[in-house]
Amino acid sequence: MPATPAGLHQLATHAEREHDPFAGRRSAAAEPAVVIQAADGAPVYLALTREDIAATARALSSAWKTLGVAGGDTVLIYDYGASPLTLFASWCYVPHLEKGAADLLGAVPICNDGLPEFASRALHVLRYLRPGVTIVDAAHMPVFLRRVAEERARIGEWTRLLAVSPDDEAAGPREIAAWERELDLPVRLLLRSGPALFFAAQCEAGALHADPRHYRVEVAPVEGSEPVAVGEGSLCITNRFLRGTSVERYLANVEVAIERGLCSCGRSSRPFRCLA
């Protein structure tokens, strides 16, 4: 029987009630090498085997590739070191990983850590390292934009793409267009969900893609309904590669529309977009 969709709130409630930081999702058979917290402020953890860690890095690199990260690029990550956005980027960011997303693509990562106070340090890195792609956690965008304005920085001269990464939440096309105008720089989404170790990136045609080898994406049209493959509703994620933690039909706090047809970019996965 397929699992009933559950979101972070339900997982957190379960974790607290049962005194189980893995919220009932840990596989007893698998020996974890690393245990990470799923999200800021949530008492929910994921147990990861060595294979899980390597596979998560492959999933992240697939998203980076969709964003156009290539060999020789420097990639700046403005997020906490404990965020999946950072952890799986490098073989030196999480124990027991031999190839991070950057290593798989021949890129070089630099992490800025995630405090709002570090927005000007992100600009400092942009100024002096000229990263090809800059990834910023969406929660940091207001402070990042403020610093850019205060320093009158023309970051379009320092990086060719800004990837904004909302964690388990949506960012609509209007918001992205506003960021593009303000920064005079192409902006794309790198949608993620920590509790599902999920990454989906916006392609050059503007659609979000999640690698079907790594994830099954569905939508739950209304609360409590059975998820379906196509249509509008809450994003529902099944992670296909994790062994230490079972992620089946995780209900992300993101409203999306999954399209029936293929994307003009030529990728084989069904395109989807965030609903504002």
Partner: protein
């Protein structure tokens, strides 16, 4: 790298070389480092040319100190500014693939960058990390609670070290800032780690958080055998206090400099930081005259990395206060022990001595109400200092603190309250803020 049996105190033979052999290897390493820099690294070519450094090898550490010019953080930052790029000609990558870039601590308000290759991260820097984790009690298979603030070199080295040791890592969300302290404490309760790697202000915050929750710290830390703290020196009273409060077996200090890219841990004797002599050469010089100081005398440490495949620092002045601790260490290691006392800019340099933050901390931590509380040392006369505290305490208590500082340091001192100490994001006092 071969991992020794868990019960063994020493990680490898490189830590216990006979001193004469260690010195011989270091001199050879220093000459090799200088020769490589002179031939390949534009930043040092410029620095050496300006100092008129002759190409002949040095034959002693004295000669090394006399002839080879030193550099400071401002020189490196200035080069980044002038070049408009983070890569300034100190990167001894030798054509190897670059895998990571990290930032230095930015104590001058300007972060510089260090570049790392897998060859170093699997070689010298990994060995350094393994020795450091080993000395602070991390053992194969241990469950270790850690964070990976991946902008900092130490986080990368810990990650590779924990991988090589086969440790199970527990990584809570956040960074080493006060807002995440409750979350780290929750993680200890939920996951029961045997070892914790963190910073001193966060550890202090976690114990305070136990009090706020009216939880017995001994219950909270029941699974934990060791804690190792980076970032500042810990006083002996504070170490005793933490061990007493939490019931852990030992609390270790880790230290070095992210700017000079070196570091080491304390052994159980807590005399200072064991620095791998085959990987880094550390000398202590007089901050005013530049004269090389004998063990036991305080000055500023200069580091020369004997490693390649990464950014290298040659006679880099970390602008801390330090001394090489004389005598044999009970742990059996023969590598040098360096004690670090805080930043030179946070210290007061008097005619005949340097009063550093660690001296004041040691004295104030004998009084429970002042333990761990932020302060700033100010120059108050030719042989007089004032200690401005960031917390309000009754007058009688201040007078007790004054007595404690006076009797511990045998110096004319006054402890006062200051309303306007600026505290940084880590909870540290910002000088001149």
């Amino acid at each position: 790298m071969r991992i020794p049996p868990s019960a063994q105190e020493i990680f490898d033979a490189g830590e216990v070389l006979p001193p004469a052999e260690m010195a011989r290897r270091q001199l050879r390493g220093l000459n090799r480092a200088v020769r490589f820099a002179a031939a390949n690294l534009p930043f040092y070519q410029r620095v050496f040319a300006e100092a008129g450094l002759a190409p002949e090898p040095v034959r002693s550490f004295d000669e090394y100190a006399r002839r080879v010019p030193s550099i400071r953080k401002a020189d490196v930052a200035g080069a980044v500014r002038a070049a408009g790029t983070g890569q300034i000609g100190i990167e001894a990558l030798g054509g190897r693939r670059l895998s990571n870039v990290v930032m230095t601590s930015g104590t001058l308000g300007f972060n510089t960058f260090a570049f790392l290759t897998p060859s170093d991260l699997r070689g010298g820097s990994l060995l350094n990390s393994l020795r450091e984790l080993w000395i602070v009690g991390v053992r194969p298979g241990m469950k270790v609670l850690t964070l990976s603030p991946a902008w900092h070199a130490l986080a990368l080295l810990d990650t590779r070290g924990l991988t090589a040791l086969g440790a199970e890592a527990v990584i809570p969300w956040g960074t080493f800032a006060p807002r995440f302290v409750p979350n780290f404490l929750d993680a200890v309760v939920a996951h029961r780690p045997e070892h914790i790697l963190l910073t001193a202000p966060v550890l202090r915050g976690m114990i305070e958080e136990c009090d706020r929750r009216e939880a017995d710290a001994r219950d909270v830390f029941a699974s934990v055998r060791y804690i190792a703290c980076a970032g500042e020196s810990l006083s002996a009273p504070y170490r005793r206090h933490v061990i007493e409060r939490t019931g852990i077996d030992d609390l270790f200090e880790r230290g070095g400099s992210s700017d000079g890219m070196f570091g080491g841990g304390e052994c159980f004797a807590h005399r200072g930081h064991h620095i791998s002599a085959d990987l880094h050469y550390v000398e202590v010089i007089d901050p005013v005259s530049g004269e090389l100081l004998a063990p036991g005398r305080r000055g500023v440490p200069l580091v020369t990395n004997l490693l390649r495949g990464r950014s290298v620092y040659i006679r880099f002045n970390t602008e801390d206060v330090a001394a090489i601790v004389p005598g044999e260490c009970p742990c059996g290691r023969t590598d040098p022990v360096i004690e670090l006392y805080g930043r030179l800019s946070d210290s007061v340099v008097l005619e005949d001595r340097i009063v550093a933050p660690a001296d004041i901390r040691e004295a104030l931590d004998t009084i429970p109400d002042f333990m761990g509380q932020p302060f700033q040392i100010e120059h108050a006369g030719p042989a007089r200092i004032r200690i401005a505290m960031g917390v309000t305490r009754p007058w009688a208590m201040l007078s007790r603190a004054t007595d404690a500082v006076r009797s511990a340091l045998r110096i004319d001192a006054t402890v006062t309250i200051s309303e306007n100490l600026a505290v940084g994001w880590k909870g540290q006092v910002m000088r001149g803020g």
